[in-house]
Amino acid sequence: MENKVAIVGVNLDSALDIEKSRERLIFDLVRGLMDDLGIEPTDVDTTIFATNDFLVGRTISNVFEDSPAGVYMRDESKVEMDATNAVMYGTMRILSGNYQTALIVSQGLCGHQVSPYLHISYSLNPIYDRQLGLLNELSAAAFQARDFLTKYGFGDDLMHAIAANSLANAALNPRQARQLPDISPQQVSESPYYYEPLRELHCYPPTDGGCAILLASAERAKELTDKPVWILGLGSSMDTYYIVERDLTVAPSATKAAKRAYEMAGISDPAREICFAEIAALFAHQEPILAEALGLMEASDAAEKYQSGETAIDGKLPINPSGGALGGHPIPATGGFRVAEATLQLRGEAGKNQVKDPKRAVVLGQDGICAQQNSVLVLGI
């Protein structure tokens, strides 16, 4: 999919408590993006929201988000999923030829509103899993972590190293919510246990935040920016909800999503052709599982990769140079954050988190228990 749809602008903000209403957060993100690009609502052909009714506390939650996003009397739609899916939706609308620009808006105030891990509890099978009372987002992630560590004979120290890699990057990034300067694997290992082997700093933090992303056709992109970032490929896939029927140490739905995206982008050897990855790994151990699914590493090499610094910002294959979802997970905007951070990297605007001269990036967003649903985008300049 060569140079047909471009990301022409991004705006993002997050904090553990952002001290803003949802309305003002959306207004600040979208008005800010429009001011950056010198456009007005009439320049936006369609707007796609990614929003979660349960977390908003109101059904059909997008009907309250249109005005602060400048959508009054304008074309609008919504996905109730991670924001990467809204980016895909917008991309397809532009590819249809009927729209020249698409605005993606996503936000979540999970830091101060409700306990974030609870949203998965309300997605559980009501007559079996909820009655047994043993399954929740943390226990499922802990089962997955235990299986992953056991499969390869890794110790908990790998989890500490992965988390420290992300959290150190997050501490350099003013757009991230969780700021822990001088974080070390030792400090991760001293954070309290939630569900053993998972400790607090292996898990995403409760986060407030949102992002606005403007997509444009090739023709319109030329008018709006001199630094377009092209969407080169996309793919998505869904595993079963039932984790008791899955091998949690692998992510076959992410593998299938990535295969589709890479084929579209003409990438045959991702480990060589991809310069860095932005992966929505909600728990430390998910990062190597998903990186393997993206063809970037063998999970069995994870200890060597993380301990040698290969995954760091200045390493051979930086993973989550932005700090990833351990730095913030404003559900369901997190995949949008990964897209926006990858865009800043490819434009050379990632500040202290900047990877050296990246040309191609892969982005993964996920939804559901133990990354049940995965969406993959390949971006490039």
């Binding site: 209403s21 506390g57 008791v244 029927e245």
Partner: protein, 149 residues
């Protein structure tokens, strides 16, 4: 003019009525009342589900072949619950298991009693401890305990 505040408000939901496919669960619960497990096998791929859906999720065909599933099994994964879902520490750590029962392909979750959490490992054998008074509910599986076999 610029004043952003946080206010609390109730989101009153009445009791939900879930319409469910209960055949597989009924089969399982009826068996459990007698102290045994009944699952359903897919006649195409052979996968045994407990509790069973009315179709095979992998083959996408209807399934209807009941099979016996043993109450002994192998630990496939475990976690030690040290906090609640909000991160508040628990007084007593509790061991949660995922177990592959003999003769079944989907795993089952349960708690483990009778073992220190530091001694638990993937691959260990466990068995169901059935409740003495069984009523055909999920509570009939009291917990898992270590098994010798």
């Amino acid at each position: 003019m610029e004043e952003t505040r946080t206010v609390s408000a109730q989101w009153e939901l009445s009791t939900y009525k879930f319409r469910i496919e209960g055949g597989g669960l009924q089969l399982m619960l009826r068996g459990m009342k007698e102290g045994r497990f009944k699952g359903v096998r897919c006649h195409k791929c052979g996968f045994v589900y407990l509790p069973a859906p009315f179709y095979c999720r992998k083959c996408y065909i209807k399934i209807h072949e009941p099979v016996d599933v043993d109450d002994h099994g192998t630990i496939m994964s475990y976690t030690v619950v040290m906090s609640d879902i909000r991160g508040n520490p628990m007084e007593e750590p509790q061991i949660s298991l995922m177990v592959k029962l003999d003769g079944c392909d989907s795993w089952i979750m349960g708690t483990l009693k009778g073992k220190d959490w530091r001694d638990v490992a993937i691959g260990q054998r466990v068995k169901i401890k059935w409740a003495e008074q069984r009523t055909g509910t999920l509570q009939d599986m009291e917990c898992f305990v270590p098994a010798e076999d």
